[in-house]
Amino acid sequence: MHSDSLFRDVCASTNSQMSEFTKVASTAEIPEGGKHYVELDERLIVIFRAAGDLYCLDDVCTHDGGPLGEGQLEGHEIACPRHGARFDIRTGQPLTMPATEATLVHEVKIEGDDVLVRLSI
């Protein structure tokens, strides 16, 4: 029933701080070309795996707030499903109109089998 069922809420179990890395997934949960949604500190973020590496972004298109993670991933580019604005998942920078501003990227790292994220702001 709930539209946010894709998102894993890690807030309650981690007591995360903005400056700290927080475990949000295991590496097996994010295969090559895959994505993983997380709620962290009341933020909706999405983690992609492309060319073997993990990238983490706000799940927000800066054009009109669309759900960026629901778009098509091609290489290191994600296209917003609403109006087609493309972003580089490595930097969050917009690559095409109608987006003109970067979406926020977050630091992500792997420790053993764990995927950890540190929010930028």
Partner: protein, 437 residues
């Protein structure tokens, strides 16, 4: 409070427990059950719907909240901003959807005016209130949150002013929410033909930073030649989810001045409609929004001209700081019969930071051919030259910004005819202005 009532979530079990906790007539219980059925059938709003496209509620967990308890706790409650120093005709206070106290001055009660907690007044004066309650100016089946209110409303307030009675003292409603609680308040104002009244409604949390859920309904029903001044100040703490459906229906030559201050909440989604249903009705809406942090306020207004010779004037102004966001979607709808309509809508936005964002979407749907309908929208940042000029006159940057923000809202303040409301809004806004470099 029973153990069952303490259970969280809105499900069949908690709804049955809620009904069992209330001693209400069958007609009201049946009405609630119909709304509950609608609530069960509605999915959570999807971002693919135009209405919700810009308002993300994926982080809302309805199951964390619960139906209001039948009896209020006796917490120490915060004082009012709107009614300070004002001689009121009556007041009503509720906490977490349960009535704490209400009273009406005997001079108004003796003239047949009814005011107080909606549940209590309905129980005592069912025959008077029932037809208006069941009129459902707000359709409980509009969306999931209106259905939740239709099923689980409690407390709120009602004001009933009989024909020809002019009440020259405002009624004050103070709706309070403690951390993690829910308020499903319903406000019903009924002015019979020729009646006049003023109502001040204030929503606030008991603690700063408090969480909570408000799914409210406001229905303002104005008979012929009735005049209402209605003020609503939404000042929840910054973790409260605010969903509100508000509608006024104006009969012939009725007039409404509706002032809205929207300052609080984490996310607000408000549908505000005015039906100009009787010939010659007039309506003025003054909306003031100030957002900060990661607040998101979304207002969807509709001025629906059903009858001819009506006038509507909606002015919304928003100042945004930090990473906050507002969405304003306004519509003037003019039916084929509504000739000689004069409709106006305007939304101005002042961005105080680089990260704030305002979406403004005015619209017109006109079927009549003899109308004047205009709309406009502006969005801009604080002019650095104005700041510099003020600094050369000895003001700090913060003082200068505060003056500019106050000046931005002055057009609204000038339209507000109640001094205490003007002062409270001005003070609340100026306190929130931060310093930007």
């Amino acid at each position: 409070m029973t153990e069952t009532m303490a259970a969280t979530g809105f499900n069949d079990q908690t709804f049955d427990a809620f009904l069992a906790s209330r001693d209400e007539p069958n007609w009201l219980t049946d009405d609630r059950r119909q709304a509950w059925q609608a609530f069960r059938e509605f999915a959570m709003p999807s971002r693919s719907e135009e209405e919700w496209m810009r308002t993300d509620i994926r982080l809302l967990k309805l199951d964390r909240y619960r139906f209001p308890a039948a009896e209020a706790r006796s917490d120490e409650l915060p004082s009012s901003l709107l009614s300070a120093g004002v001689s009121v005709g009556g007041h009503a206070v509720s906490l977490d959807g349960a009535s704490v106290e209400f009273a009406i001055h005997p001079k108004w009660a003796s003239r047949g005016v009814l005011f107080g907690d909606l549940s209590a007044i309905t129980a005592e004066h069912g025959e008077t209130i029932r037809p208006h309650l069941l009129r459902h100016a707000i359709n409980p089946k509009f969306d999931k949150f209106s259905a939740l209110n239709g099923a689980g409303w409690s407390s709120g307030a009602v004001l009933y002013v009989p024909r020809g009675i002019v009440v020259d003292e405002p009624f004050h409603v103070h709706t309070l929410l403690s951390d993690g609680a829910a308020d499903l308040g319903r406000i019903l104002v009924i002015l019979e033909e020729g009646a006049e009244a003023t109502m001040l409604v204030e929503m606030a949390s008991t603690i700063e930073g408090g969480d909570g859920l408000h799914a409210g309904v406001t229905e303002l029903l104005l008979g012929p030649r009735a005049h209402l001044r209605y003020v609503s100040l939404q000042n929840w703490a910054d973790h409260v989810w605010h969903f509100a459906h508000q509608k006024a229906v104006l009969d012939q030559d009725a007039s409404l001045q509706w002032t809205i201050g929207a300052l609080g909440s984490r996310l607000a989604k408000v549908n505000q409609h005015v039906d100009l249903a009787g010939k010659g009705a007039t309506c003025q809406v003054n909306g003031t929004m100030f957002t900060e942090g990661r607040q998101h306020l979304s207002y969807h207004t509709k001025q629906h001209h059903i009858a001819p010779n009506c006038r509507s004037d909606f002015l919304y102004k928003a100042a945004l700081q930090d990473q906050s966001r507002t969405v304003w979607r306004g519509m003037i709808e003019v039916d084929r019969e509504a000739q000689n309509t004069d409709g106006y809508q305007r939304n101005d936005n002042l961005l105080l930071s680089q990260q704030a964002r305002a979406d403004s979407i005015p619209g017109l749907e006109i079927e009549a051919d003899d109308v004047r309908c205009t709309h406009g929208s502006t969005t801009g940042r604080v002019d650095d030259e104005m700041i510099f000029y003020a600094q050369t006159r000895g003001f700090t940057r913060k003082e200068a910004t505060r003056m500019i923000v106050t000046g931005f809202f002055q057009q609204i303040f000038d339209r507000i005819t109640i001094e205490s409301v003007r002062d409270a809004l001005g003070l609340a806004i100026s306190r929130r202005v931060r310093e930007y470099e």
